[in-house]
């Protein structure tokens, strides 16, 4: 049987947890097929990323360096991943269901006439896959009916490989014919934050429209976020209102998170929001409306005015330290 190829993301010289988790998921898929797991790293100048990639538990790391691979644009990455899959005898390609994975995976599937399952949450022994639909109200078991397959995996549903031996590493040179109408990267306005990465954090404090302003996010919510050493998240309503940047949105159409502790503050708990945080281990809700739907998924609900409860909670958490 063929090998399982994993798309390796990297930024600023490091590899996100999402890719480590994708390797874990790929191992489960490879266990059924009997093939190897191969991590593909694409970039212009990979440098130290190569060493980091070798620690993730894949059987082998394959590195492709080219000036055309400087940026993560879907058209060029599709060409490269298809070529790497062929060169490595891979018949399944696994992506993390990040924005990069979601951008590239379907394009690769179409280019190879491969069946695709997006945002997969479980791999069954018979090779079928489980994926959520309808904002997590329905879980479908699906079968991919093609020889070549593409899968993107939900990063909260799998674990990185523990205690793996270092992988062999190999450079592969490919000639990629960049099309004349290729997409050009212009710039990235990266969100800089000293806090933990939202999708990787053990603790998340998320704020909603109940905060009423961006200033209140700063003065009321952030002290609690930092007292807990947490990442900050938000509802769509808070992002739409401009209180916080887009990359904090948690939900069906934002990020999916599953921290050990999630605290939702001034968030009503619409189904689209719940779809992004329902798998958190412990859920706390602070809302002044006892009927708010978020209480139906909360382990601990506090019916209170957030402008009183949050500062009190912040002070008391600080005094624990």
């Amino acid at each position: 049987m063929g090998n399982v190829l994993i798309y390796g993301e990297h930024a600023g010289g490091s590899i996100p947890k999402a890719t480590a988790v994708a390797v874990g998921a790929a191992q489960q898929i490879a266990a059924a097929s009997g093939g190897d797991t191969i991590l593909a790293l694409l970039g212009n100048d990979l440098g130290g990323v190569k060493d980091a990639a070798a620690q993730l538990g894949a059987t082998k790391v394959v590195c492709v360096e080219s000036a055309d691979l400087e940026h993560e644009t879907a058209d060029t990455r599709t060409l490269a991943m298809k070529a790497v899959a062929e060169a490595t005898g891979s018949d399944t390609v696994v992506f993390a269901a990040t924005t990069a994975g979601k951008d590239i995976a379907p394009r690769l599937a179409a280019s190879a006439e491969a069946a695709i399952a997006s945002d997969v949450t479980a791999v069954n022994d018979d090779g079928t896959l489980v994926r959520p639909m309808y904002a997590g109200n329905v879980f479908a078991t699906v079968k991919l009916e093609s020889d070549f397959k593409v899968v993107s995996v939900r990063t909260t549903a799998f674990e990185p490989v523990e205690g793996a031996a270092a992988s062999a590493s190999e450079d592969l040179s490919l000639s990629i014919e960049k099309p004349a109408n290729a997409v050009e990267f212009v710039k990235l306005d990266a969100t800089v934050s000293d806090r933990p990465v939202l999708t990787e954090a053990e603790r998340v404090v998320a704020g909603g429209r109940g905060l009423k302003s961006g200033d209140n996010f700063t003065t009321v919510l952030e002290p609690l976020v930092d007292a807990l050493g947490a990442a900050m998240g938000a509802s769509r309503a808070a992002v739409d209102a401009g209180y916080v940047p887009n990359d904090l949105q948690v939900g069906q159409t934002g990020k999916v998170i599953a921290p050990t502790l999630y605290i939702g503050v001034g968030i009503s708990g619409a189904i689209q929001h719940l779809a992004g945080m329902k798998d958190s281990k412990v859920i706390v809700a602070i809302n002044k409306d006892a009927e708010a739907p978020i209480f139906s998924v909360a382990d601990f609900g506090l019916v209170a005015d957030l402008f009183e409860a949050v500062p009190e909670l912040t002070e008391k958490v600080k005094s624990l330290a």
């Binding site: 644009t73 179409a110 699906v142 212009v186 710039k187 281990k281 019916v303």
Partner: protein, 250 residues
Amino acid sequence: MKILVTAKRVPDPETTIKVNADGTGIEEAGIKWVVNPFDEIAIEEALRIKEAQGEAEVVIVSVGSADCQEQLRTGLAMGADRAILVSADNPDPTAVSRILEKIVEQESPDLVIMGKQAIDDDSNEVGQMLAQRLGWPQATFISELELAGGGGSATCVREIDGGLETLSFPLPAVITADLRLNEPRYASLPGIMKARKKPMEEIDASSLGIELGRSVTIVSVQPPPERAAGRVVESVDELIAALQGEAKVL
């Protein structure tokens, strides 16, 4: 300029969706069907381009059963010029992308605007697949679009995990809309009246000469795992005690 937009018929996002008794699909009784919210944003964006340019044609396509006419009329009432209904029985994203490829070949639009994901199947696939089939540039999850060079090229801002990314590319291209691209208008009463007379072409997918079989089969569907019921705490002190004691997360 000609813009093609897609409109999928999906359950209203306010509807509570449940798995049906025999585990083969969802309970459809009582569902209100709407235009996929991301597709409404796509339609709105096309209309804004038309209004800014003075001259442009907006063609709206839906793939599915005859019921999709309702969603196409909604798009026409918002201001699209004409509609195409492609009848197909239960197409998967690959099949939808093959159908749309044929429609693009017939219509030769300068730009295809789609939603980033349909809120029923949540696949987030069709736009990227279509772009690949056509060999066109793609920009997914966009929150800003600017046309340049007399409509010959575009610059888009995309909402990605690490922030906001800007891309530029020549047209024709496929772009997929994220939530913050715009706020879609409601259809006006005169718009609804006019929509009744706007042309709606019907095409049978089986006449397009393409493979429509599913490459992904759904074996079964299950409801999500239930969460154990939680409890209400009376004070911040009780909350802290619970998080330290019972939950052991503080």
